[in-house]
């Protein structure tokens, strides 16, 4: 347990979405921080940059990318990484994250977070690339677990062992997506608590919560819905293991007014408050 760990605590945040720019500036709602989708701000100017510059004066920001393609067999894209570094210097986020996945090869980008086979070779490949990225950016990055729908015949270990090994060997931090663990646990029929138990607690720097679409036999990670009870329960279990972790809710589609998301965020606050009270007694 790492209740005494000195990891940076941002509290409870939301994804920064275009629809909410004006409300945020006008009402300065009680949200502790915002996560931006990095690629949306890799543009020269105009509205996105304008609003980000103003919102970052009021709230801590973290950068969350979808295109690093850390597991791809293509060479790292240094032009992209230079853009990330420039944005990092311009907006000074608290940290930078991307996903444990690949998004394309042979110069193409599928813009999807595709799973990797869980093998020793792939661990070495990804560790080496994370280290190069961290050296280039001059800081540790956070790597997020994705939701997945397939298992490769070539995999020889669990996803949690794969993530744990990579984070430890590359000395990166973890963005643990609780909804993704839940989605994958249903799709691949594992116990999500096994996943939580395997995580190196000190490395879990951020948590994602989100809603999804239940298709009956499987679940699709759509970020267009409210968080379901099982995911809240898993969140509680995560906080029991890791202590307080900076938490944010992802909503990418069917985006409601900010107030609705704040109500959901307050639910996370309540859960955390209760658990931290229990564990400090």
């Amino acid at each position: 347990m790492s209740y005494l760990s000195n990891k940076l605590q941002l509290g409870f945040g939301l994804g920064l979405r275009t629809d909410h720019y004006e409300t945020i500036l006008n009402e300065k709602p009680s949200i502790d921080w915002f996560e931006i989708l990095t690629e949306n701000y890799l543009v020269s100017g105009g509205k996105p940059i304008h609003y980000l510059e103003r919102i970052r004066e009021l709230y801590p920001i973290v950068m969350h990318g979808v295109s690093m393609s850390i597991g791809s067999t293509d060479p790292l894209d240094w032009n992209y990484l230079k853009e990330i570094k420039a944005l990092d210097q311009r907006i000074e986020p608290k940290w930078i994250s991307d996903h444990l996945c690949w998004t394309g090869m042979n110069g193409k980008n599928t813009h999807d977070l595709l799973p990797l086979p869980y093998t020793e070779d792939v661990i070495q490949h990804v560790v080496n690339r994370i280290q190069q990225v961290q050296d280039f950016l001059g800081k540790r990055i956070l790597i997020e677990n994705v939701s997945s729908y397939v298992t490769y015949n070539q995999s020889i270990m669990s996803e949690w062992d794969f993530l744990k090994e990579i984070s430890e060997q590359s000395d990166c931090l973890i963005l643990l997506d609780i909804n993704n663990i839940y989605v994958s646990s249903v799709n691949h029929e594992f116990n999500p608590l096994d996943y939580l138990d395997a995580m190196p607690a000190d490395r879990v720097q951020q948590i994602h919560l989100a809603g999804h679409s239940d298709m009956g036999d499987y679940i699709i990670d759509t970020h267009d819905n409210k968080i379901i009870d099982q995911v809240w329960k898993l969140y509680s279990a995560a906080l029991h293991r890791f202590g307080m972790v900076s938490t944010m809710i992802e909503r990418d589609d069917n985006i409601p007014p900010l107030n609705e998301l704040i109500v959901e965020l307050n639910q996370a606050r309540q859960i955390a408050k209760q658990i931290l009270a229990e564990t400090t007694v």
Binding site: L42, V43, I49, K108, H111, D121, Y149, Y152, Q154, D217
Partner: protein, 267 residues
Amino acid sequence: MNELLTIQNSFQDFLIQDDKEIYQSIVDTGKVSAETRLEIYRNAYRYRLIDALAANYPILKIYIGDDQFEDLGIAYLDKYPSNFRSIRWFGDQLVNFLNDNLPYKSFPYLSELAKLEWAMTLTFDAADSEIIDIETVKSIPPEDWAKMRLQPHPSTYLLSLSWNVVQIWQELSEDQDPHEPIQNDHPVNWLLWRKDLINQFCSLDNEEACAIEAMLKGLTFNEICEQLLQWFDPQDAAIHAASFLKGWIMSGLISGISLGTGSSLES
């Protein structure tokens, strides 16, 4: 890394061209077949990119309707899979695609509507820049005017459109029924730029469009006047160019003025 390379290659070929080789690498569970599992990815891939296309061409989507737009998106994606890091740039070849392929090329106003919308996206997130006011240009001594080079705001785009697609665009963005497509006798010049974060556009007569085009090429004020000699005598050309310049400054189109090499005036 040969194994990973093979898996990624066949997975991507599956997403992009429905190649089935990846099936042999996927575990088939009793509950959900490998086929169903893989189809989740293929659907997500297609719909994410079609949504991205719709974000860049929202009015074209309304104009041709959801089903037609989906067919267009799938056909476009087959021909031009993304090689961009940021999905924002997906759709950069749509104008060419509409011009080159049936059935779209039979309806040439579709590619013009796409051309208008793509230019709008470029205007929307072009680089920021200061704009100068009229005092800046007043401070330039008359003898230096000839060698002035005007720096247009980076969001400035000039389009020549043969169809009434701006009208159609406006009507659809206001939820009105669009006019029938009509081809003009002569192409019309349209200017797009951004002011106070909001996209602006207006039509231009040929004289002013010619002057803007000369400015965008980086020509001097004197050279802009020379371009206008096809319509005016020398004295009138200068008067017109000066009045254009005043209008551009008032509209927030001019980011700076440089005098020859080195010296530059910005607000």
